[in-house]
Subunit: 291 residues, 2 copies
């Protein structure tokens, strides 16, 4: 998808928050805001929001000296989510449809995000809310069928902390059948997105092969991905894409992609025909494969 | 109060919304955003937010050709609020403490605002919520005492629609004692703030003298006010200041001011020690008059 004008104030807000996470120096905060505003005024809106976010975070790194503003928050989210892991397993095991419950939890975990203006309170309440509400867009049956017909799943991760919830879903996928599953992380830290170190920390490597996208974009921008990642992308039977960033970068791709996300901003809400806060499991609608 | 860096993305968001209210032309929207971003990068943050808002809206007028982007929304708000007027009167008359109820309703009416990122659903639900919740900052007893000791009240209005709720409070003030009450409106349209025409439309002139501030700021910026308005300001025993704009511009004044507002953004929430959405009746704490 292209970038909307609504994204411009949002990028500035995000830049300010990230700068504040690194330093208390207001002069640096203002420098960051001014530089990002100047960048945004020159940018064509035909590029996707995560491509702009990538440039915004490069400015933050340059002006604050930190290449990982949310380092602490990421580790905290991983630790907090890991503490819930035994409970997540129990909830899934005790449910009528464990795969559906695991999908709902994986989508719930997507609430752990420091980019959009959509802050999560605590992981316990995220879980409760997910279990008591239904999916606003629900292509679960297509998803289940697609998994049954697949040998190879490419799972595009999103945030630290959230990846513990992804581990739960991957575990369920493996119960259904013997699948090759590759889990894709960002090459470098950006916002609170999961990298290789995060994936290993939460033991995702026990259930999937961890692969870097080859890019520090907070999304899957194919033109920036490594040849290895692209081979997997083209070989996979089913692609699971977590979060808004992956949706923004892949919404026009003609592949068998399932987007699992929480809607976090009015622009995405409008595009999906959903509301901010909604849980979405949506099959890519540019293809009709396996329908 | 000074302007915070958090206000910068918020001004851009507001500018985009106002431009969209006038025209569907995306080129104009982008022009507005770029011009406002350029203005903001040059501004000292020592000025108050409404002074910046005033300059932002001048850019909108210049680039869109409209000096009143929210004209239709204002009239709609006036009409909708007027439809509730009989019910508001009944609610106040039937309550244990009519003045307190009228204060709560006047604060509730402040939710009718198109500036901040805090949109109201409908006036009926605003009223219900106000009556069932308490004031987060509650200087009501000081307010009641101040009114009892006053001869002259200056009432600084805020938004169209909201002024119907102000009429309810003014009606109650008049029941308590025979007061001179001047109601201040903006000199020119800005955002959805009430002007002379709005005040007359909702018959506020039946219960108060309507006075223009002499300025098109969405606030009470004393250096821009007319001599007439300043005379009233200095002569009044009690000043009622509605909304965040009037708070932002008068928070450091040493006068007997009561701020009646809904908290609509995290910056004001932090300054007041309250939460977004809270109802506040706060006496100016820079003075100790009549305590």
């Amino acid at each position: 998808m292209k970038t909307y004008l609504d994204c411009i104030p949002c990028f500035l807000r995000q830049a300010l928050e990230a700068a504040r996470a690194v330093t208390g120096d207001e002069k640096v905060h203002r420098q960051v805001l001014d530089s990002v505003a100047s960048l945004l005024s020159k940018l064509p809106l035909e590029v996707t929001p995560p491509e702009i976010a990538q440039q915004v975070y490069r400015i933050i790194t340059e002006l604050t000296g930190s290449s990982d503003p949310y380092h602490k928050e990421k580790w905290r989210a991983n630790q907090q989510a890991l503490a819930f892991y035994p409970r997540l397993k129990e909830v899934v095991a005790g449910s009528d449809d464990p795969l559906l419950t695991a999908c709902k939890l994986a989508i719930a975990g997507n609430a752990i995000d420091l980019g959009p203006d959509f802050k999560y309170a605590d992981i316990g309440s995220i879980i409760e809310a997910a279990l008591s509400s239904s999916l606003a867009i629900n292509d679960y049956h297509k998803f289940r069928d697609s998994i049954k017909n697949s040998q190879h799943v490419l799972y595009l991760g999103d945030n630290a902390g959230e990846i513990v919830f992804d581990r739960i879903l991957i575990r369920e996928l493996r119960r259904i059948k013997d699948l090759k599953i590759d889990f894709v992380v960002r090459e470098q830290p950006i916002i609170n997105d999961a990298t290789f170190a995060d994936a290993v920390y939460v033991s995702l490597d026990r259930v999937a092969d961890i692969v870097s996208s080859g890019s520090d974009a907070p999304a899957t921008i194919l033109s920036q991905c490594s040849p290895q990642m692209l081979r997997l992308y083209h070989a996979a039977d089913t692609i699971i894409a977590k979060g808004q960033g992956n949706y923004e970068s892949l919404s026009e791709e003609r592949k068998n992609i399932f987007f699992l996300l929480r809607v976090k901003c009015p622009v995405i809400a409008r595009l999906l025909g959903a509301s901010v806060g909604d849980a979405v499991l949506k099959r890519q609608d540019t293809v009709s494969l396996a329908d």
